[in-house]
């Protein structure tokens, strides 16, 4: 199967699908029988709807009604349509079919006639739907009608007592009223769909005259996406919870680096996209969607934003689960699902970092991972296009379904999870380059000491002159680390300053940009330094940790990597590593020594 680009691609994929439907049936976790009845040429519906279903893990069985045969097929109890016994029915009658001659000649008749026409049509449509309802329990998606955008009376259309546009608007309103409290029938607002697309773009006139196509073929995929908005809740596949990153997702910038006054959130050009995204998320919360946080931050920093930032629309109390820590996002997601007692398949994950997204996608294919565009200005519209939060109503059944899935997931033991993360990292093809400081890297190395707050052992700030002087002295090593993986180049993102003594090397500075944490980069770095020390017959590598307000993420580094604490002065911790003790390189990272 190929990723469809043109309409013919859907047909190509469908031909593939038709060769081995059984294979697809086994692969998909859900299945559904869908009937589409329309008043005009229906080519393409089957192929495109099939693709859309397969993409959503649904095995479709699709019945396409005969060309403008909807009436007979519904009325005749033995029709192929009824024999098919659909679970979902789309009824798409277009405005010009419904109006017939009046579509182009609306004012050949009186106002009274048009009013009576609405009554007649409502009567016909509801009794047609009633016929379906009496025969089956399928959900019925009933298109409403596109309000024509052309009037023969031109600017006087609005002066007509009961004009053409008013007629259709009235019909739509009546239809909506008729099914407002109906649990089986859902009026699909095709009129709004057309407005969204632009009514001039709805029809391809050439195609209309050649083959009676009332809708541009290119629009079918979008229309089918709308249908999936009904299919998913019908199959209990609607999403229930949005798991959110914070830095550069809910606000611009990194709170740990930029601090509360430095992040973008609010009325500015940079801040408004985030502010409006938060309002959108709040609106989802208000309709019953659960919100959760999964971010690499210091808890206190985030708490301060919740409490003190004037444009922080989302508050702590809106989040059902908080995972603000330095664990990997996969572990956090698993914990969130368990804590909330919902399946990972009802989660949506939103993170600006493509790497985190890939990590979550590969571990949880069932999680809907939103591919946020690079530009925050497009965040809101991207999120608004996620059509997966729909519910027909909230039942207890829905709630229990979530629990069932959680139980299934729980059989995975921790060991396996760990292996998977390693496997995942291996698949990243990480490449680490380590080299001594050069005149070219010194400005960046200095900048790193100035700007890195979180994964920084000693938070010693050095100027370019400082770094140069270290680099020139025999008593120091200044080592720079760059990271690359298959998703891109992170550049020079780590460094250390080693103060050399005959028997002991002391780590004066050890820092990594938080962008690259959690990928065992620090292990490679340490293995490299230890190897170098060993070659120089050094006995001990001494680590220093100076706690700051912000370097909590680095706190356990020495402990986690086999150092022994041997002294504490004030808050300053001294750790030691016996250089002769082997420290293996992670096998899945390629090291380039320069």
């Amino acid at each position: 199967m190929i990723v469809p680009n043109n309409i013919s691609d859907y047909f190509r994929n469908y031909r593939e699908f038709e060769k081995e439907p059984k294979k697809w049936e086994q692969q998909c976790s859900k299945s559904l029988r869908i009937a589409v009845l329309s008043s005009f040429s229906n080519n393409g519906f089957k192929e495109i709807l099939t693709e859309k279903c397969l993409q959503s893990d649904i095995f479709p069985d699709i019945y396409i009604g005969g060309y403008n045969q909807y009436f007979q097929e519904i009325i005749n109890p033995d029709s192929a349509f009824h024999v098919f016994s659909p679970q979902m029915i789309v009824l798409f009658i277009d405005t010009s079919s419904l109006l017939g001659d009046e579509y182009l000649l609306p004012y050949g008749n009186s106002e009274k006639y048009r009013k009576a026409w609405v009554e007649t049509k409502i009567e016909e449509l509801t009794s047609l739907v009633q016929t379906i309802k009496e025969k089956c329990a399928a959900k019925i998606v009933l298109h409403n009608f596109e309000v024509p955008s052309y009037s023969p009376v031109g600017i006087l259309e609005s002066k007509q007592p009961f004009g053409l546009m008013k007629t259709i608007k009235d019909l739509n309103n009546r239809l909506q009223e008729a099914y407002k409290r109906d649990h089986q029938v859902f009026v699909f607002d095709f009129e709004t769909f057309c407005s969204k697309i632009g009514k001039e773009n709805i029809i391809d006139h050439k195609m209309y005259y050649i083959g009676d196509f009332r809708l541009k073929l290119d629009l079918l995929p979008r229309l089918c996406d709308e249908y999936l908005g009904y299919v998913k809740p019908l199959l209990g596949m609607n999403k229930k919870c949005i798991v959110l990153d914070l830095d550069n997702t809910l606000w611009g910038g990194v709170i740990g680096e930029d601090e509360i006054n430095g992040i973008h959130l609010g009325l500015t050009m940079e801040g408004r996209p985030f502010w409006e995204l938060q309002k959108f998320l709040l609106s989802l919360y208000q309709r019953g969607i659960i919100l959760a946080i999964n971010s690499k931050n210091n808890y206190e920093d985030v708490l301060q934003v919740f409490k003190d930032h004037p444009y922080m629309v989302l508050k702590e109390e809106h989040f059902a689960a908080l995972r603000i820590n330095w664990n990997d996002k996969v572990t956090n997601i698993r914990e969130i699902a368990e804590e909330l007692n919902i399946g990972t398949d009802s989660l949506v994950f939103v993170d600006d970092d493509p790497l985190n997204r890939e990590m979550v996608k590969s571990e949880f294919p069932e999680v809907l991972v939103v591919d946020l565009p690079e530009d925050p200005a497009l965040y809101l519209s991207t999120m608004q296009n996620v059509n997966d939060f729909n519910t027909f109503q909230i039942t207890n059944e829905d709630k229990n379904k979530g629990k069932m899935y959680v139980k299934q997931r729980q059989r995975k033991d921790y060991q396996k999870e760990f292996t998977n993360v390693t496997e995942y990292l291996a698949r990243l093809e990480i490449e680490v380059t380590i080299e001594e400081a050069t005149p070219f890297t010194i400005p960046r190395l200095s900048q790193l000491t100035q700007k890195t707050n979180q994964y920084n052992m000693t938070t010693r700030r050095y100027t370019e002159e400082d770094i140069s002087s270290f680099a020139e002295q025999d008593g120091y090593h200044v080592i720079a680390l760059s990271v690359k993986d298959k998703f891109g180049d992170n550049g020079l993102t780590g460094m250390c300053v080693i103060k050399k003594d005959d028997a002991t090397w002391e780590i004066d500075t050890w820092l990594l940009s938080c962008r690259i944490i959690g990928r065992k980069i620090e292990d490679v770095f340490l293995a490299y330094v230890l190897e170098k020390a060993r070659k120089n017959n050094v006995t001990f590598l001494r680590g220093i940790f100076i706690p700051s307000k912000k370097n909590h993420p680095a706190r356990s580094f020495f402990k986690d990597h086999g150092f022994k604490k041997n002294d504490v002065k004030d808050t300053m911790e001294y750790w030691e590593y016996d250089v002769n003790k082997e420290y293996p390189y992670p096998t899945f990272i390629k090291l380039i020594r320069r």
Binding site: N6, S8, F11, K206, M207, Y209, I210, G211, F213, D218
Partner: protein, 83 residues
């Protein structure tokens, strides 16, 4: 005319050796009237042209497609390239 050839293959699922001027819809399983419309749409998209309704309806063989493309200024450098 690699682009034409590729579109013919993609849309009609046609074998390369079948791509000849004289090939008609009757020779190709997927070249029904709808296949013909898709073909027209994708050629329009690919070459950024607009066929008239008459042209779309008037295609009786692959040679006709080439004729209409040429009419719209699409230069068919070498006939042999597609056959």
């Amino acid at each position: 005319m690699k682009r034409l050839k590729q579109i013919l293959i993609n849309v009609l699922d046609i074998e390369e050796e079948q791509i000849k001027d004289e090939t008609t819809p009757d020779d190709v399983e997927n070249w029904d009237s709808f296949g013909g419309l898709m073909l027209a749409l994708e050629l329009e998209k690919e070459f950024d042209i607009q066929f008239t309704t008459e042209e779309v309806a008037g295609v009786t063989c692959i040679g006709d497609i080439k004729y209409y493309l040429k009419k719209h200024g699409i230069d068919l450098v070498n006939k042999n390239e597609i056959s």
